[in-house]
């Protein structure tokens, strides 16, 4: 075993999986470090479950290789892999009690019978279900079932924990509680975890690293903050956070900054991961919370300013959400968050406003199908491909 593989718990290189002619996963390359919590996030049908099933050994890649703990696992059947998995629908055994469910992997993996009750109690305690040992799954609430499933997946101290959207069926409050609960348990045990979700919030909240997938292709892999700050493709920009997009054309390029003509406006932006020469068609992305909304006659605050009309206003308590139509940008509608609705003025529908934002917050991506960013070799924070 070389030094690299002792830090890397999972290495996936060039893995593809075809179903008929559909490429569920194509040429995926990623790694997970020991003890890390990695989340694979993407819209429904993008290949997340397929990727997870290949790691678990239920599906065989058509190309590429998967290593777990430095060892190639192509020929290793699922029951010999040291992987705990929590399924999308939990898959608790309905004819067994919570304790029997948790004891199952210990029995199957030939743990000493004398040790089993102690381990079962320990892990049911860890998920705070000590008092529910003898209940069957249908006698437990949704959240309690989640806890049994996670205890069952962890009780035999697997090298790797796989979570296939186990929280997606819960209501929002419970889901958020369980996210923190999962994270607490993961950190307490230090188990390497791959979580799969289509909920970008969940990905941001829980993960050490995030992999964004679309259409079977890995778009970007980074830590949550870098990913949020520096989306590598328009898809990532749109998928993570609330982002408005509009088309433009580069008129001047000066180092990192580019000048973009969009509609009747001239804006300053930063290049999003590609060299953009003058004349290049671009897609511009701006996050809702980066836009300042104000009256049209106010003093300029940022490099970029456009005038618009409020089309919709939604009050969410801690923030005000505006949809502002900007005729000068070809009628694009920009989403705007105002995070201080207490002291800032409130603008009503049809009211004219001015939107402003800093040059560094506007990202210009090359238009059209952008090449996916291969972030595996990319130093964190860089913007180049």
């Amino acid at each position: 075993m070389d030094t690299g593989s002792s830090k890397r718990m999972v290495e996936i290189a060039g893995v593809s999986k075809l179903f008929g002619t559909v490429a569920a996963v194509s040429d995926a390359t990623l790694h997970v470090d020991r003890g890390d919590f990695l989340t694979v996030v993407g819209p429904s049908g993008c290949g997340k479950t397929t990727l997870l099933r290949m790691i678990a050994g239920f599906e065989h890649p058509d190309a590429g290789e998967i290593r777990i703990g430095g060892r190639r696992v192509d020929a290793v059947p699922p029951y010999r892999r040291s992987i705990g998995m929590v399924f999308q629908k939990l898959a608790l055994f309905p004819h067994m009690t919570a304790a029997e469910n948790v004891a199952y992997p210990l029995k199957m993996r030939r743990f000493a019978p004398a040790k089993i009750p102690g381990l079962v109690d320990e892990y049911l305690g860890l998920v705070r279900l000590g008092d529910f040992k003898d209940r069957r799954p249908h006698e437990l609430s949704g959240g309690q079932q989640q806890r049994v499933a996670i205890a069952r997946a962890l009780v035999f101290s697997p090298d790797l924990l796989l979570l296939d959207e186990p929280l997606s069926a819960l209501d929002r409050k419970l889901r958020e509680d369980m996210q923190l609960e999962f994270r607490r348990i993961q950190q307490e045990l230090g188990v390497t975890t791959i979580n799969v979700t289509h909920d970008q919030r969940e990905a941001l909240v829980m993960s050490d690293r995030i992999v964004v997938m679309e259409g079977g292709v890995i778009q970007q892999a980074d830590d949550p903050v870098s990913l949020y700050r520096q989306p590598g493709t328009p898809f990532v920009a749109r998928f993570i956070g609330v982002t408005s997009m509009f088309p433009g054309r580069v008129t001047k390029e000066t180092g990192e900054a580019v000048t973009v003509a969009a509609g009747e406006a001239t804006l300053t932006a930063r290049g999003g991961g590609a060299v953009l020469g003058a004349g290049a068609a671009v897609e511009c992305a701006i996050r809702a919370e980066q836009i300042a909304i104000g009256p049209r006659d106010g003093a300029p605050r940022f490099e970029n300013a456009v005038d618009g009309i409020v089309r919709q206003r939604i009050f969410e308590g801690e923030r005000m959400v505006y949809a502002v139509e900007v005729p000068g940008l070809g009628g694009a509608v920009l989403n705007v968050f105002d995070h201080d609705p207490v002291s800032h003025s409130v603008y009503d529908e049809t009211q004219p406003v001015r939107l402003e934002w800093a040059a560094r917050d506007l990202i210009a991506f090359p238009a059209g199908p952008a090449p996916a960013v291969t972030t595996e070799n990319k130093p964190t924070g860089s913007l180049t491909t």
Partner: protein
Amino acid sequence: MKYPLSWRLLDGLEAAAAVLWPARLRRLTAWGLLAPALVLVGVLVIGLGYMLEYSLHELDLATYRLTEAYSLTNYQTILDRPVYARVLGRTLLGAVLVTAIAVALAFPYAYALVRTRSAALRKALLVALFLPFFIGQVVRAYGWLIVLGREGLVNSALAGMGLPTVDLLFTYPAVIFGLVQYMLPFAILLLVPALAAIPEDMELASESLGARWISTFRHVVIPMAKPGLIGASVVVFTLTLTDFAMPEILGGGTSDFIASAIYDSFFQISNPGLGAALSMVLVTLGSLIVAGVFLVAGTGTLGVRGAK
């Protein structure tokens, strides 16, 4: 806004129903729907009552009529004549054997049908499953006569290889064989929904928790398929217990089941009292065994989730 025609038609129907069948009568609806089944069961119960009545009258050999007086003579006859004990034992053993073999063979078939990823294989399995239903039991039994007979396919093949021919027909194993072949589709048909109700994730979960497929089968698939297994067993068992054609045709009189004995009592020796008594014994025995199975396996077996 115009709604599609089918919606408007359904709305019309509903309005008409509301007039013809006002809400006051709604609670009778369930009974109304149950009525045909209740009538059918009722007729059966009445028939059974008549049977019981017949069985309690001895045959008067002078008039060949049942005597007026009540007696247990017919039941005494069944106890006294060892042939009836033999036939009954043969029937019970046959039912147990056929149930065990048919369910054991049906399980992998149903499992493959439910789990296969190949659409072609699934279709083939389905066709092979339903085909026998289009061919009656008697026709199939005659088919076996042709295949297994003295000059049949098997013996021709044996003769062709220079081996001595064997008597395959008119033996107890031939009857069991024919019955298993006849019951298999019923068993499969009852097992398929039970297996289809087990999410594949259950098996994958078991596997990833460290179980080989054989442990997965033992600890997950079979316990979860229990309702189907019990349903299939009960149906195959009772159908075999009361079967007539297979023992008649493939047994050729050597391996009569109790149904043949009942038939003979009614139509060969014209003793309806004895036939009725035999029928009562059969019904009682069958009911007791099935009741016993349900008692042991739990009343919730036939699908009620969570019942212990």
